[in-house]
Amino acid sequence: MKIIVCVKQVLDTAAQIQIENGRVVSPGSSRIINPYDEFAIEEAVRIKEKKPDTEITLLSLGPEGVKDSIKKALAMGADKAVHLMDAKFEGLDSYALAQVLACAIEKIPYDLILCGRQAVDVDRAQTGPALATFLDIPFVTVVTGIEFSDDFQNAKITRQVEGGSEVRELPLPLLLTCQKGLNEPRLPSLKGIMAAKKKEVLTLSALDVETLDIGDNRVIEENLCLPPERKKGIILQGSEEEISGELVRLLREEEKII
């Protein structure tokens, strides 16, 4: 089986961010694999463990620094990677991005494409479905379980829905966007890390993927701001009587609610 895993690099979710001139800045913070994409990588590796002739290709779009995330995903067990890097790709919206990915994928054979449910930086959740649409293959989003038929031609997919789950059976090829709960991503083993150094990473530009007509589908950020700071909580301590007395006093005198 041939699997493509789409991987986006995002700012560490634990980073402390500031906004300067309408842009997010976070000096000294690291970049990580989008956590939902880690479920996708892990799932691909698990499929490969079950079906050893599987080949996993990573597809990642972004600047040079993305190579760090690619390296990690290769260490987790992917076989090779395609890195799409071009100044022209900067600021593209999800539609145009999916178009670029679709063009790149035209040259890579696949049976299954795995994406994360959404990228935790912009939270748009559009790239995966748009990509499937461009490739004209079925897709299922927010996937929490994948089971293949014995011949790996069909898959039973469990997806999260409001208050429960939905199970669908589909033929491959297929695109899935992965949700938390699908698996627990592994940390790379030392062997994996050593092996990753020798794996192939192909870097392609806009010209290479022949996406000259992506046009001006760009997102222009008008303004960004941090959410308003929440007031600090107060913890009352002491006996029940002391606490309730103090609580009433606070509500009455300071908050003026009662």
Partner: protein, 472 residues
């Protein structure tokens, strides 16, 4: 200056991370500057206990009477200047570490509890996983502003030896007493630090709130390593893990040169599985290691050295974890931090009081120590968790007795103290004596030793009013 006498206001300060209850105080005083504090103290006659952030494990900030002085308003962080930074004592480790991230500088002492105040970490000479290579808090303190209980103030710099008088702003001075006590040679946080010809500064660091009050602190920083090669190794047998330690140590300063070596026994791993379900099911022990890499260009080489070394050892290498980036490194530190957290949660649910050891021995007793721990724990059949600083021969054994087994647990503890002291180790390598381990401390240094420490105390606090009940 804030002054409060309401019990509800005082109550939170009568607690720390030990289960000690029964503290009391008449008043809490919160100064805004060190001058204000000094003037206040000149006119005060009641016993005084200093409150840091209250993460201490020995009840040392919990007073039995008198007043509490909280330094929480002395919380300014200065700028980094030539590898030095000035901080107020109330700045937490957490705040300092976040502040330093964009600066490219690094404060190596990393006690697991990052909500500790820096003043508290000086008072307890706190240490962390990275102390194995970098050293403890003491090694990174350059200068402090110190206030004595009588309100006298001084700026104490590195290099001022106890052979010289300690001078104060008002022109008065104090001489170091003539004593013969010396601190043990292993990692140690029990009692005052005393070595011939040492700096005055070192006497106050680790004095557990009993000799002086830190009101400003200048810390020494190191350039931040470019990265860490870091992993959690799993073993099918505990002994395979122990055997690795002397080997790793024999490389010190060479290709394999970790800054942390932290141990998890099978009981720790069993508990960690509730939060980390990727732990290999047949593992019986784990070792968290990290090696600092100063320049990025050396990263691959360090990684290869570890690969070569570990491939030949008895490790579950394919199931072990290796960090790729700071997020994973943080994950590993959280993994380590989760052990005491899970145990504490478990204890409060079960209404159980844990009895935790904090002992260390000199290097040559490492293997005998591990064998001794294992055998002793087997004989008594108590539930326990063993984890901690394997590289420093310093383990935390948390004894987790049922209520009916409390006496048994004390017996185990006593037996361990006896053996550790026979090996010239310490009963507290990290958390200090405070109010909870005095009985054992006396056993450790004897009546003569205690007398010597009392002479030091008498020079600086003749009425024994500061941190009363701690250590002595």
């Amino acid at each position: 200056m804030i002054r409060k006498t309401e019990p509800a206001f005082i109550a939170p300060y009568l607690r720390d991370a030990s289960n000690f209850s029964g503290g009391s105080a008449e008043e809490i005083v919160i100064p805004e500057t060190s001058d204000e504090l000094a003037i206040f103290l000149q006119n005060e006659i009641r016993p005084v206990t200093i409150a840091g952030a209250g993460t201490g494990l020995t009840a040392s900030r919990i007073p039995s009477g008198g007043i509490i002085i909280s330094l929480e308003l002395l919380n300014k962080i200065g700028e980094v200047n030539e590898g030095r930074i000035q901080v107020g004592p109330a700045v937490t480790l957490n705040e300092l570490q976040s502040f330093l991230i964009p600066s490219g500088w690094f404060y190596p002492p990393n006690p697991t509890e990052t909500w500790a105040s820096l003043g508290g970490t000086l008072a307890t000479n706190a240490s962390g996983s990275r102390s194995y290579k970098y050293g403890v808090t003491r090694d990174f303190v350059e200068e402090v502003e110190l206030v004595l209980l009588d309100g006298r103030k001084t700026v104490l710099k590195r290099g001022l030896k106890i052979t010289e008088p300690l001078k104060f702003e008002d022109g008065s001075q104090i001489l170091f007493p003539d004593i013969s006590y010396q601190s043990p040679e292993c990692k140690n946080a029990a009692g005052y630090f005393v070595r011939p010809g040492m700096d005055w500064l070192d006497l106050f660091i680790g004095s557990d709130g009993t000799l002086g009050i830190f009101t400003k602190i200048v810390l020494r920083l190191l350039p931040c390593p470019a990265d860490f090669v870091s992993g959690i190794l799993f073993f099918t047998e505990e002994r395979s893990c122990w055997k690795l330690i002397p080997k790793i140590k024999s490389f010190k300063g060479q290709k394999i040169d970790p800054c942390s070596l932290e141990y998890f026994d099978h009981n720790a791993l069993d508990r960690l599985k509730s939060k980390h379900n990727n732990i290999p099911s047949h593992s019986r022990a784990a070792l968290f290691f990290e090696q600092d890499v100063l320049e990025l260009k050396n990263y691959d080489l360090v990684m290869e050295n570890w690969y070569e070394f570990l491939s030949a050892e008895n490790i579950m290498l394919d199931d072990s974890w290796f960090a790729q980036g700071t997020k994973d490194i943080k994950k590993f530190h959280d993994f380590r931090h989760d052990v005491p957290i899970i145990i504490n949660e478990e204890n409060s649910r079960a209404g159980r009081v844990k009895l935790g050891t904090d002992m260390a021995v000199p290097d040559k007793f490492f293997m005998p120590m591990m064998e001794f721990y294992q055998e002793t724990l087997k004989i008594y059949g108590l539930d326990y968790v063993m984890f901690g600083h394997l590289g420093d021969n310093h383990l935390h054994i948390n004894l987790l007795p049922e209520e009916s087994q409390n006496d048994k647990a004390k017996q185990v503890y006593d037996q361990m103290v006896d053996q550790i002291l026979e090996w010239r180790g310490t009963i507290s390598a990290e958390h200090g004596i405070g109010k909870l381990k005095k009985k054992y401390f006396e056993k450790m240094i004897g009546a003569d030793g205690l007398n010597d420490l009392r002479k030091i105390k008498a020079c600086l606090d003749p009425d024994n009013r500061l941190g009363t009940g701690n250590i002595l």
